[in-house]
Symmetry: C2
Subunit: 340 residues, 2 copies
DNA sequence: CTGTTAGCGCGTTCAC
DNA sequence: GTGAACGCGCTAACAG
């Protein structure tokens, strides 16, 4: 018995209507210039008439190319990663790729689950945040031989490709600057994730023997404006007497902005009494009063670069040993304004 | 000729190793309780041993269920929509669904392209931002009979389901409040998208004959802190003499925050000289000095509700005429702090 | 430039 | 509780 007509129009239906073979229709869609103009017009007319929309799942199964890239971020409700996702999505779209998004919540077990699912969905590439993954994850990834880009860090042993910057060096640069400004006791206030820790390590490295070891305040991941305010409030209460730091390096600009507000409310003069340094150079930083000194990191560019690396890899006609650029250090930049 | 072994392990390979039929393996994965425990253990062992990862594309093609939901936002690098995406992703994940993300850039033509592609990918549901879409888009959507949720607004003629709030009523509530506070000349400063316009319309409706018609300043979409500062700077220069508004209602909290900063820099007292009202109640609002009065909208909840509506629809066993809740008005709330 | 053949890897359906 | 056939809708590979 012939198959009854289903909901949607199929390639076959279009082919019959146009009086050509299925493959010809397929070619009109995927490689138009390999079809004679007359036939092509006939087919295009049939497509328009039927309102045919190709079933990309079927196409993907047959060609084993999904044109989907997976991306896993700790969380998306954070300007920081959102910018990277934006850059990624935009540049991927130009290559005809779509983005499957996952949130790990800073949890490697969740990340691993997502990686497994994404691999099952046969993504053509994967963009990860950071360089610290579970052993299972890296094993899966190497086994699957999927192009992978790690972002937001500069791993020593990358899984595959990288579009990032060195958190350690960024922290070190901040430390160097602050010590040169004469600060003896510096405080670091940020979350506990690996990248934050790398910046703290950099700060400590810059310190060396020149000053006291930085105080470290670790906040819950995702702490934001309110968290920054709280840091100042706590500091003012507990350590005003002798161990008040003269400078604080925050894990992100939102925290620093909150801190600035609390200083404003308490009449603490920035930077005279307390220097404040942010991280990321969000839109807000330049527009605060006083304007926030911070570290500009290539948020958007990491996404764009990741897309670029992936597209290059995916379009490559077997480079036959030719090494592609795999590691992109996009750097960072100290932006010195008023607050430090 | 038998097919040579490909890269990855297939269901068949696992079945052979376990000495059972393919279907048994499939059942172990999808309906474990329909398989005898002994057989199940054998199969699970084989799965573990081979590191088998099911090809979800093939599964989707066969079952015509992709377990993917598409979501289109104007832009993701904006705390506002990012929150919604977060809520959506999280709740979708609990039902085993993943998120395909698209950015329309406030462009309906781009949105339509994305809808077409997503339909081709056979998404099980679609979440859209706003209620204004191209004719082509709504036609596609109705034809495809895909569950759709519109968010961030309360359309009169929804395509299908809705999880949003009324932008018009929100604007009206702000207007009502500000007029009650004695403001005669109010200014609206926001972007030109449809939802922003609805709020302006609400503001105007609240105005009625009680006061002058609000001044409207339309900003480029995505304008943020810097844009807010600019509004104040422009206003101070051009209309200080006679037509200076006594209150400004901004399209989002970032703009309002920027405005607050510019007032701080210029010595304009808020709210005495100028009342400032934000929109969205971002994390930043409560932590500004002075704290920002704003309209709290259910950003995260819209995402969660959209996921809920979709999951309910997708799991439904033919409700046989039973109407499901399709329109969820999640409301909004005036949050009055110090700035207005 | 166009058509034919043979699956992609899995789930549905119905036997047993 | 388990197995066999068939096809989801499309494209790769090779003819012609």
């Amino acid at each position: 018995m012939p198959i009854a007509h289903k909901n949607s129009i199929r390639l076959k239906d279009v082919a019959e209507l146009a009086g050509v073979n299925m493959m010809t229709v397929s070619r009109v869609i995927n490689q138009p210039n390999k079809v004679a103009e007359a036939t092509r017009d006939k087919v295009l007319a049939a497509i328009k008439k039927t309102g045919y929309v190709p079933n990309l799942m079927a196409g993907s199964l047959a060609s084993s190319k999904s044109r989907i890239v997976g991306c896993i971020v700790p969380t998306i409700d954070n300007s920081i990663f959102a910018e990277t996702v934006r850059g990624l999505t935009e540049n991927l779209a130009q290559g005809g790729y779509q983005l499957l998004l996952g949130q790990s919540n800073y949890d490697n077990a969740v990340e691993d689950q997502l990686v497994a699912t994404f691999l099952g969905r046969k993504v053509d590439g994967l963009v990860l945040t950071g360089s610290v993954h579970s052993a299972m994850t890296t094993k899966r990834l190497r086994l699957a031989k999927v192009p992978v880009v790690e972002t937001w860090d500069l791993p020593e042993k990358p899984i595959d490709m990288v579009a990032g910057f060195s958190n350690f060096e960024a922290g070190k640069a901040v430390g160097k600057y602050l010590f040169e400004q004469g600060h003896k006791l510096i405080c670091f206030a940020g979350s506990e994730d690996a990248r934050s820790s790398a910046r703290l390590a950099g700060l400590q490295a810059a310190c060396g023997k020149k000053a006291e070891k930085p105080i470290s305040i670790r906040l819950a991941a995702g702490a934001s404006f309110a968290g920054g305010r709280q840091v100042i409030a706590d500091l003012a209460q507990t350590s005003l007497q002798k161990h008040m730091p003269s400078a604080i390096f925050f894990g992100n600009d939102a925290l620093a902005a909150g801190a600035l507000m609390e200083c404003l409310a308490r009449g603490i003069k920035v930077p005279e009494q307390l220097a404040i340094m942010g991280f990321a150079d969000l839109d807000i930083a330049a527009n605060l009063e006083p304007a926030l000194s911070t570290v500009r990191v290539p948020t958007r560019q990491m996404g764009q670069a990741a897309a670029g690396l992936l597209l290059a890899r995916l379009s490559t006609e077997r480079p036959a040993g030719k090494a592609l650029v795999k590691i992109q250090d996009l750097g960072f930049e100290l932006v010195l304004r008023k607050s430090a």
